[in-house]
Amino acid sequence: MSTAVKQALVLALGGVIIMLVILALTRRRLLTTRYTLGWLGVGAFVALAAVTLPFVGRLGKVANITPTAVLLMLSSLLLLAISIQLSISVSLLQERLRTTAEAHALLARRVSELENT
């Protein structure tokens, strides 16, 4: 078995493991569908990378970068994109939590007022 094929198999295995973990998490309702789909996509991307590796190698040759470095670069970019997306989600959630907390406080006040009359 050539080194290239071994590499491809290891990568594909990694991709499949990611997808299995994500599916397990989803079944335990720890992930919402929205994120499940995104992460399944990541798993599929990694598994497919096994097939596209030769292409990645050629891409690297253009800029004189080793295939490993190209792959590392791509995965860093992906992780960066995921972190930014999560930051956006958190900001949005913060705003919603804030609005909910304020509404809650006003309602609690109103209820205790009504109870005392």
Partner: protein, 238 residues
């Protein structure tokens, strides 16, 4: 309920909040204390002193407490809110002057300023004073407002600005003071300041960790690039 409500945002202010509420109640104003999930007895002390207390279930910061207070005021039919800190550094006896200025000048907001001619401030570090003038200069350049003390939390606000704030008000540091002025000024609301005498805080702890001067400077320098974190409906003429 009268149409003026005094709103006091408070976080762990049990040492001072009682005196603040008592002096507001002695002037015959309705007093709403918004307890920002304090870990001490702020809410009980305030209630005992005669305030209406709104308890936030989680800590939201001054802006969150204020928006809840504004919302409450608007919902109960108030048209003017005077905002006072819970630590006793604001001169409660000058609330009447703020409101009077609001009415006579036809303003939407009047800011009580430590640094306007005639105002009195507790001793400030030079760095902090610098940071505040930088904020003031930024405000003038970007909204045309001349406010010497844009970080002052002693202010009178009335409709239509009050209703606008009740709907949308920033909650991060300097959002409730500097940015609120900046956005309101740009949207055509009429804002003025009058000199007031402020004390040093009477007890409790200041609520910011990083030196305020550093954060203020950073905000003044970044606002041209980041823009503001919220917006208001433009003021309709009249």
């Amino acid at each position: 309920m009268t149409d003026i409500v005094v709103v006091v945002p408070a976080f762990d202010e049990e040492a001072c909040i009682g005196d603040v509420v008592t002096s507001v109640r002695n002037l015959d104003y309705d007093c709403v204390v918004v307890d920002d999930a304090s870990t001490d007895h702020t809410a009980e002390v305030a209630e005992k002193a005669g305030a209406v207390v709104i308890r936030l279930p989680i800590n939201l910061g001054v802006g969150g407490a204020l928006r809840a207070g504004f919302r409450y005021a608007v919902d109960t039919g108030a048209t003017t809110v005077v905002q006072v800190d819970g630590d006793g550094q604001h001169p409660v006896d000058q609330i009447g002057t703020l409101v009077q200025h609001l009415d006579e000048g036809g303003y939407d907001m009047v800011v009580g300023s430590r640094f306007a001619p005639g105002g009195v401030s507790s001793p400030q570090s030079r760095l902090r004073r610098r940071a505040i003038s930088l904020l003031s200069a930024t405000l003038r350049r970007r909204s045309g407002l001349t406010i010497s003390d844009p970080t002052s939390g002693f202010r009178a606000i009335r409709d239509p600005l009050l209703t606008a704030f009740a709907g949308n008000f920033p909650h991060h540091y300097l959002g409730d003071t500097f940015e609120a002025l900046l956005v309101a000024g740009r949207r055509g609301y009429r804002i003025a300041e009058i000199p007031v005498e402020m004390q040093a805080r009477q007890g409790g702890q200041p609520s910011t960790a990083l030196p305020a001067s550093v954060r203020a400077t950073l905000r003044a320098l970044t606002v041209p690039f980041t823009g503001c974190s919220f917006d208001l409906p433009p003021r309709s003429p009249g």
